[in-house]
Point group: C2
Chain length 277, copies 2
C-alpha cells in the first residue's frame, strides 16, 4: 500500500502560493464568519488563519453569537461584500440549528467573486456545464489527487460514497466534466468495489473499511478517505489503515490526508481571489 | 416489453393543469426567446405554444435575429423580468454559435422565480442540497417515470449515459437526493448494464441499443430513451424498439416518450410560476 502524504503535499502547495503572493506583491484578505463559538469552529478557524499566514495572506475572524438574528448575518455579509480590501469571504459550516434553514440564503448573499469556498448556489450551479468563479475546495483537492494517482484516466470508474453538497456532489460533477465515470452511492454497498478503480468514502463510520474488505479491493487503485471522526480523542477516518496491509493501491488517509489538502486548496482560491480585484 | 406511452401521460398531466388553472382562475404567461429562426426552434416553439394553450396558459414568442448583440438579448430579458404579467421566461437553446459563450450569462439574467426551465445557475446549484425554484423539465420528467416504474426504489441503481447540463447532470443530482445510486457515464460502456436496474440513454446514436444487447439487458427493468435524431426524415432515438422483442422490462421510447413529457413538465412549472406571482 502506498500512503499519500497529504500534509507534505499541502506544504508544497502553500510554499508555491507564498512565492506567488510575494512575486505579485499581494496579500489576499480572507474574512471568516463563525456563528457560535464551538470547539470545532475554533479549530478550523485557527487552521485557516495559520495557513493564510503561511501563504502571505491574512484572515480575519468575525465571531457572531449563536443566537444572532439572520438579518444581522446578512448585514455582515453585505458589509464584507462591499469592502474592497476583502478578497474572500467564508461562512463556517455547519451553522447553529436555528440558522441552518437559511444556509443557502446566506451563501447566496456572498459575492460569487469572493466566494472562496465555492458554495454560492450560482458557483455550484455552474459546475454543470459552466465556469464557476470558485469550486469546492474539498472536491478540487480530491480531484487533483485522483488526476495525479490514477493512470490513464479515460474510462476510469470512480465510486463516491455519500451525497454531501460540499464534497460528494460537486466532486461528482467535476469528475464527469473531466471524462470519468462516476458511481455515486448515498449509502455504501460493498459490491460496488468490484466495479470501480477509485473509491472516495465520505459517508461511513470510523474504521468501516478494514481488513475484511481486502478481497473486494483487488481492483481498486486509489482510496480517498473523506470521513472524519473522533474516537477516544483520536482523529479517525472511514479507513482502518493498519488493517489494510495487503491492499496494493494508494490511500489518502485520515489524518494527514484530505484535511490539510482542503485548507491548501482554500488558499489557492484565496490567492486567485486576491488577483481578481 | 412494456412500452410506456409518454404522449398519453403528457395529456393526463396537461388536463390536470388545465383544471388547476381554471379553478384558480389564472392564465400563466410564458415568454419564449428564440435567437435565430431555425426549423428546430420553430418546431419547439410551436409545440410549447400549443401545450400552453391546452393548459389554459399563454405563450409569447420573441424571435430575435441570429446576429443580434448580446446586450440586446440581456435587455429583452430585463424587460421580461420586470413585466408583472409575465410568469415564466424561457430562452430556447442551443443559441447561435456566436452567442453560445454567453449562454450562462443569459440564463443568469433571467429572474430565478420566472426560470421555468430551471436553467438559472442558482436554480441548478440549489439541486445540490438546496431547494431550487424550478428544476430541469427533462430531468423531472425522467425522475417521475423512474419513480413510477421502478418498484422498491431503495438501493436501485440508475445508469445515466451522457453529461448534458439540461438533463443528465440535474437528473443525477435529483436521483441522488431521492436515495438512488447513480452510475453516470459520459461515454457508454455496455458492461454497466449488468450492474444497473434502470438505464437512461441520452448520448448515443440512432438505434444504438438493439437486439444485440438483449443478453445484457436481463437485469434492466426500465429504459428511458433520451436521444433524438432524424433518420430519413423520421424521428429516432437511441433504442431500436423493434429489435428488442425479447426485452422483459419497460421502455420509454422515442418518439412518443420524453418529448411530450418534457413539454408537459414545462407546463407544470409554468402553472406553478403563475401561482407564485
Amino acid at each position: 500500500m502506498k500512503i499519500i502524504n497529504g500534509s507534505v503535499m499541502a506544504e508544497v502547495i502553500k510554499s508555491r502560493l507564498r512565492e506567488e503572493n510575494q512575486n505579485k506583491q499581494q496579500c489576499p484578505q480572507l474574512a471568516m464568519i463563525l456563528v457560535g463559538e464551538t470547539p470545532e469552529n475554533k479549530v478550523y478557524a485557527a487552521l485557516k488563519e495559520k495557513a493564510a499566514a503561511a501563504v502571505g495572506a491574512k484572515s480575519h475572524s468575525h465571531i457572531l453569537p449563536a443566537e444572532i438574528k439572520k438579518n444581522q448575518v446578512l448585514e455582515l455579509i453585505d458589509e464584507l461584500n462591499s469592502q474592497n480590501t476583502i478578497d474572500g469571504i467564508l461562512l463556517q459550516l455547519p451553522l447553529p440549528d436555528k440558522l441552518q434553514p437559511y444556509r443557502d440564503r446566506f451563501l447566496a448573499a456572498i459575492d460569487p467573486k469572493k466566494d472562496v469556498d465555492g458554495f454560492h448556489p450560482e458557483n455550484r450551479g455552474l459546475l454543470m456545464g459552466g465556469r464557476p468563479a470558485f469550486k469546492s475546495c474539498a472536491a478540487q483537492a480530491v480531484l487533483n489527487i485522483i488526476e495525479q494517482y490514477s493512470e490513464a484516466k479515460a474510462k476510469k470508474r470512480v465510486l463516491i460514497v455519500g451525497n454531501s453538497f460540499d464534497l460528494c456532489l460537486p466532486l461528482n460533477l467535476m469528475l464527469l466534466q473531466s471524462g470519468y465515470q462516476v458511481l455515486l452511492q448515498p449509502e455504501f454497498e460493498r459490491e460496488a468495489l468490484l466495479w470501480c478503480d477509485v473509491a472516495v468514502f465520505e459517508k461511513g463510520c470510523a474504521g468501516m473499511i478494514n481488513g475484511s474488505f481486502l478481497s473486494l479491493l483487488s481492483r481498486i487503485q486509489l482510496i480517498i478517505d473523506a470521513g472524519f471522526y473522533y474516537q477516544d480523542t483520536k482523529p479517525r477516518g472511514n479507513v482502518d489503515t493498519a488493517s489494510l496491509n495487503g491492499y496494493k493501491g494508494a490511500l489518502l488517509p485520515v489524518p494527514g490526508g484530505l484535511g490539510p489538502l482542503l485548507i491548501a486548496q482554500l488558499m489557492v482560491n484565496l490567492t486567485a481571489a486576491g488577483e481578481r480585484l
